[in-house]
């Protein structure tokens, strides 16, 4: 025993263990073996695997490997529970969520200790960060449940939701997913990660204790095979996944064409940018919180330190000194900064990547002290002399490893920051507000922290750009991930009753009589080309395709676009993107109104064209043109009104939720309503600042090709709208596969939906491929906020303030 007198001289920190008595008591109570929680009941432990405490390498429990039949049972339970749960008044669901939040808080320390034992993260983090945020999420979403009927009017729960979460924040990720899902009226099958299932099981217990109706929340443990059974299950309406980009991509492919709604929160290689006027001592603590928080096993960890060259040496010296004072050790010790790595496989990956970094010429630095050897520990690591071409600068290490690069100018910092396939988070350090607020929108990421890092709150959406996934968790934007327009569900049930809405629409069309050619004069030959970069362009193929009217009459020809035309169109869209995305909402509105004005001037001509194509009566054709004009006005109106939000986050500061354009988008337009369908997609996309490559109705493309002469006269900058006619499915596939296209909308036959969703997995671009036929003339289905949401992505910029 060290004496008081000795410690008085050394002034060392001693052990400060958090007791694991209650946690072990809970585990013992269950004989350290767990089944699944399905339909409000516990299955017997079966086919179990070990749960290891990574700080001691000891087995602390065994949990069951979920089978397909377990998943089937859970889905059946969730499906059975859905109608009643969804039909509950919001206030009733609010009461349940409130009860769960209270129950969580009453058991806060038990959750914190078990989480630490299961994951290896420090008790300080689980106690002060994870668990309070979990409770906060349930409280916040109890509020959304209460307000759902008014705040999300016209929307309804998606249905049965499958949720698959990672091991780095086990209970917090559960909360991020379960709370909004239940608040919105969904029922849930949740699978925690195989390394860290315990707090989810304890959570199931408190749900049981709180009396949550059976089947509303089901918890199944297991590995990737269990997850796969969920992803493949036909009765699951939505999959929410947090984890690696690799698995996310597999899920995107597996769910392609299934009609499942999908949200993915994936990997990152987030930049941590330090400008020369930053408070460097605070930057040092920021780095500690960025990359040595949770041993760097954080998807949004600032793992690329980008430092302005003039202060780089000073910052590195400060960082190294700080690293010496970090304490690593038993995660249950209340005075450690870092705990253990979750599992040997992760530790090996970190070791291997650090070795590779050195092999590739980067300089590695670690503090002089040694890690404990009784668990899976890895010391804080700092790389300098790293080039963007180094492996460690590109791949997600998911460990306590920071790589450093320098930049000369703010412009270069942005280029380096965005030089990654990912786009989850970014941290910007400067005392100059002009610089900070200039840089934040230029970084491709879903979250930006200014002079801070790793701040989270239920009120502010979290989620990525690019290959960091899509969808948001938290805030109003997060709720929409668990909602669908109510008309879709009504249509869904109509479909089940054999009344296919699309067929109905088509039938209605068929019944209409055509009035014949509006003119007896032979028409003057017109040669529609493609419209790329504001200019008419001959198709690369040198071929044309014939267009026939609904009555089978030959009407004309359009260019047969191919992949090279798509390539050219995407390049033109990129060239236009920089200016168009920065144009003011007012300026974009002016152009949309002007397009409407010019279309209006040629109203009759377009109506005649529609009639000749689709065989619509002249009255209906005129109605379609008028609806198109109105739609252009709608988005002209929205262009300067689709505001972001200022979230009420619990800091002295604000979180600015900015609606940003997605970038370059591909739009595959519906066959029906050849003009209105085209405008219904193009107008909201460009109103929000995107530039587009549109594939018009394959069957009746001439309304769109006529339209480019309207665009020509409407001051639209070249390249904002590009039109490529031709085989929709083939062209859409080229767009979906294109790495430099960031979003794709597809409104074609169901067979094409799968192709597009599958192909989109290459760069995890956002896809919107509605499985529902839309009545484009109905404003509820054909326009509005749903389109605006799909045309934007939310960036949350956290701005703490105070001098």
């Amino acid at each position: 025993m060290t004496s008081v007198a000795e410690i008085f001289q050394t002034m060392d920190y001693g052990p400060a263990p958090e007791s694991d008595k209650d946690a072990n008591g809970w585990l013992t109570l269950h004989d350290r073996a767990f089944g699944h929680y399905i339909n409000g009941e516990w299955t017997a432990p079966l086919d179990t695997f070990e749960v290891i405490n990574p700080a001691t390498k000891k087995v602390i429990a065994r949990v069951s490997q979920g089978t397909t039949s377990d998943v089937n049972a859970a889905v059946a339970a969730a499906k059975a529970a859905l109608p009643a749960w969804r039909a509950l008044p919001g206030h009733a669901r609010a009461r349940w969520l409130y009860a769960l939040a209270r129950e969580l808080q009453r058991n806060a320390r038990l959750f914190a200790v078990i989480e630490s034992m299961d994951n290896g993260k420090s008790i300080r983090e689980t106690r002060d960060i994870d668990i309070p945020l979990v409770a906060r999420h349930f409280y916040h979403h109890a509020g959304w449940a209460q307000l759902a009927a008014t705040e999300f009017e016209g929307y309804t729960a998606v249905g049965v939701v499958g949720q698959i979460i990672p091991w780095n924040f086990p209970l917090l990720m559960l909360a991020w997913k379960v709370a909004p899902a239940l608040a919105a009226g969904n029922t849930v099958i949740m699978k925690p990660a195989e390394f860290t299932p315990l707090t989810a099981l304890l959570f199931a217990e408190i749900c049981e204790k709180a009396g949550l109706p059976p089947g509303v929340l089901n918890i199944i443990t297991g590995d990737g095979e269990t997850g796969k059974a969920m992803v493949d299950h036909p009765d699951i309406d939505k999959i929410a996944f947090t984890g690696s980009t690799e698995v996310g991509r597999a899920i995107r492919k597996a769910t392609a064409g299934s009609g499942k709604k999908l949200s993915l929160e994936l990997g990152g290689k987030s930049p941590f940018i330090v400008y020369e006027d930053a408070d460097l001592d605070s930057v040092v603590e920021g780095v500690v919180d960025a990359i040595w928080f949770n041993q760097g096993q954080v998807c949004c960890a600032g793992s690329r330190l980008l430092v302005q060259e003039g202060v780089a040496d000073k910052l590195i010296a400060k960082l190294r000194a700080r690293m010496e004072t970090l304490r690593i050790g038993s995660p249950l010790d209340k005075a450690v900064d870092m705990g253990a790595i979750v599992a040997p496989v992760q530790l090996e990956r970190i070791q291997q990547l650090v070795q590779q970094g050195q092999d590739e010429g980067a300089t590695m630095w670690q503090p002089s002290w040694a890690c404990p050897t009784d668990g899976y520990f890895y010391p804080p690591t700092l790389f300098t002399e790293v080039q963007p071409s180094s492996t460690i600068a590109q791949v997600e290490i998911f460990g306590p490893v920071m790589v450093t690069m320098t930049f000369r100018t703010p412009e270069e910092s942005v280029a380096l920051a965005n030089n990654t396939p990912y786009g989850l988070a970014a941290s910007i350090w400067t005392e100059n507000i002009n610089l900070a607020l200039d840089i934040a929108p230029k970084i491709k990421s879903g979250v930006v922290w200014i002079n801070a890092t790793n701040l989270f709150d239920a009120s502010a959406g979290f989620g990525g750009y690019r290959e960091s996934g899509f969808g948001r968790e938290g805030g109003r934007e997060g709720m929409f991930e668990y909602l669908v327009p109510a008309w879709e569900r009504e249509q869904g049930s109509a479909q089940r009753n054999g009344k296919h809405a699309a067929a109905k629409v088509a039938k209605k069309r068929e019944a209409r009589t055509t009035t014949g050619s509006p003119s007896d004069m032979p028409s003057l030959d017109r040669t529609p080309k493609l419209f790329i970069g504001g200019k008419q362009a001959r198709p690369d193929s040198g071929y044309a395709r014939k267009v026939f009217g609904a009555d089978g009459a030959f009407i004309g020809e359009v260019g047969e676009g191919n992949r090279k035309d798509i390539r050219n169109a995407v390049e033109a869209a990129h060239a236009a993107s920089k200016g168009w995305s920065k144009a003011t909402g007012h300026a974009r509105a002016q152009i949309l109104y002007y397009i409407a004005e010019n279309l209006s001037a040629r109203r009759d001509e377009f109506a005649q064209r529609i009639t000749s194509l689709s065989g619509a009566s002249s009255r209906d054709a005129l109605r379609e043109v008028d609806a198109s004009i109105s739609r252009l006005f709608t988005y002209g109106a929205w262009a300067d009104k689709y505001d972001g939000a200022v979230h009420n986050v619990p800091i002295r500061g604000v979180a600015l939720a900015m609606n940003e354009p997605i970038g370059v988008m591909g739009l595959a337009c519906p066959d029906e309503a050849p003009l209105l369908g085209f405008i219904s997609l193009v107008a909201p996309a460009i109103a929000m600042g995107n530039t587009v490559v549109a594939i018009p109705s394959e069957q009746w493309p001439l309304a769109a090709t006529d339209f480019y002469s309207v665009l020509d006269t409407s001051d639209l900058p070249g390249g904002v709208i590009n039109i490529v006619t031709g085989p929709r499915e083939a062209l859409a596939r080229v767009l979906a596969e294109h790495d430099d296209v960031e979003g794709i909308w597809y409104f074609g036959p169901q067979s094409g939906v799968k192709d597009v969703e599958l192909a989109s997995a290459v760069n995890m671009k956002r896809t919107w491929a509605s499985k529902h036929a839309r009545d484009w003339t109905d404003a509820a289905q054909g326009e509005g906020r749903e389109f605006l949401r799909e045309a934007t992505q939310v960036k949350n910029i956290w701005v703490p303030y105070g001098e």
Partner: protein, 351 residues
């Protein structure tokens, strides 16, 4: 900073005899010598350094919020750390109704701050536990000097028109001379806050430098009155100017401001001490004062010193608490550690 000095190699333990220079080990922070630390002579005012300082308040507050949650000491460690806190204490009485009687009582407590039975139970009876200094107004310096005679506990006098520091400059200088003449070995001066609030750094520098010269051999602690400096950036800049002007210590507060010693102030000031040390090689001390009443608060400041500046700054020549009621709370915690029972203040001799 311009007065950069070259560092010598690290002496092996003990540091030998006489003052030695600070040292720099590659890739680690330089640390002051174990033994006697050379007094900070000050340096010419370097406005480039002063004006380039940036402090981000929100980030500092986050650090302050997590520092006490990242470190803790329990059982023997807590007892030892609390004993250490006692030796770093400037036991203080600064009231209008101070009399020789209560000052003598305070001095007696300074000599024997912890009950003997508790010290013995802790095995600390041979550690020479006594407070760092006794701090009083000028008028009570002779009483305190007399009461502490033979104990080697220095008497500190608050000075220069404490607490507002707005009396005539010559009188403030004279006050220092008088207190030093009366036997004060430490002088806690107050700065003119207006110089900070108006950015008149050269006036601040000149003032502090003049005070330092007036102190002679007495060590000077410069009270910045951080609660009246408006911003953390001002606190940081005032810290640096005070050090450039030759302060031996920088001190947060008089105890009379609305906001006194807080961890954010402590973080900013200790970081500036580190910068100054790394730039010049001179180690300056830190004294948080005002509002530190509980054992837990004192531990938080000890964590701050150890984390931001290192073990060497846990010695009375580089760290002091200004406190009056803190000691009683520490005694209660020590007794609790010894007996396992919660303690009552009235069972400890009052200061």
């Amino acid at each position: 900073m311009s007065a950069k000095r070259t560092f010598e190699t690290l002496p092996r333990s003990g540091g030998g005899t006489g003052p030695s220079r600070p040292t720099l080990v590659t890739n680690e922070r330089p640390i002051p010598p174990t033994g006697h630390v050379e007094r900070n002579p000050g340096m010419p005012l370097d406005l480039d350094v002063v004006r380039s300082i940036r402090v981000n308040r929100s980030a500092v507050e986050r650090r302050a919020a997590t520092l006490p949650t990242r470190r803790t000491v329990k059982k023997e460690w807590q007892a030892a750390w609390l004993l250490r806190a006692i030796t770093l204490m400037d036991l203080t009485t600064l009231s209008g109704d101070d009399t020789p009687g209560n000052v003598r009582r305070l001095c007696a407590k300074a000599r024997r701050p912890v009950r003997q039975d508790i010290l013995e139970a802790l095995g600390a009876q041979d550690l020479g536990i006594r407070v760092g200094a006794v701090c009083v107004y000028h008028g009570l310096v002779p009483t305190a000097v007399d009461a502490l005679r033979g104990s080697d506990i220095p008497v500190a006098a608050v000075s220069t028109g404490f607490p507002a520091g707005l009396s005539p400059f010559e009188q403030r200088l004279e006050e220092i001379h008088a207190s030093v003449a009366a036997g004060a070995r430490e002088i806690d001066i107050v700065i003119t806050r207006a110089h900070v609030l108006t950015g008149n750094w050269s006036a601040l520098y000149d003032e502090v430098k003049a005070f330092r010269e007036a102190c002679g051999d007495a060590h000077m602690k410069s009270i910045l009155a951080t609660g009246e400096l408006a911003t953390l950036t001002n606190v940081a800049r005032a810290s640096v100017v005070a050090m450039q002007a030759g302060s031996d210590f920088i001190k947060t507060s008089t105890g009379k401001e609305g906001v006194n010693a807080t961890l954010p102030f402590g973080i900013v000031m200790t970081r500036m001490i580190r910068e100054y040390f790394e730039a010049t090689g001179y180690a300056v001390g830190f004294k948080p004062a005002g509002g530190i009443r509980t054992a837990k608060q004192s531990l938080e400041f000890l964590f701050l010193m150890k984390e931001e500046l290192g073990r060497r700054w846990l010695e009375p020549d580089l760290f002091r608490f200004g406190a009056s009621s803190l000691l009683t709370d520490i005694e209660r915690q020590l007794e609790h550690f010894v007996t396992g029972r919660y303690a009552a203040a009235h069972r400890h001799p009052m200061p």
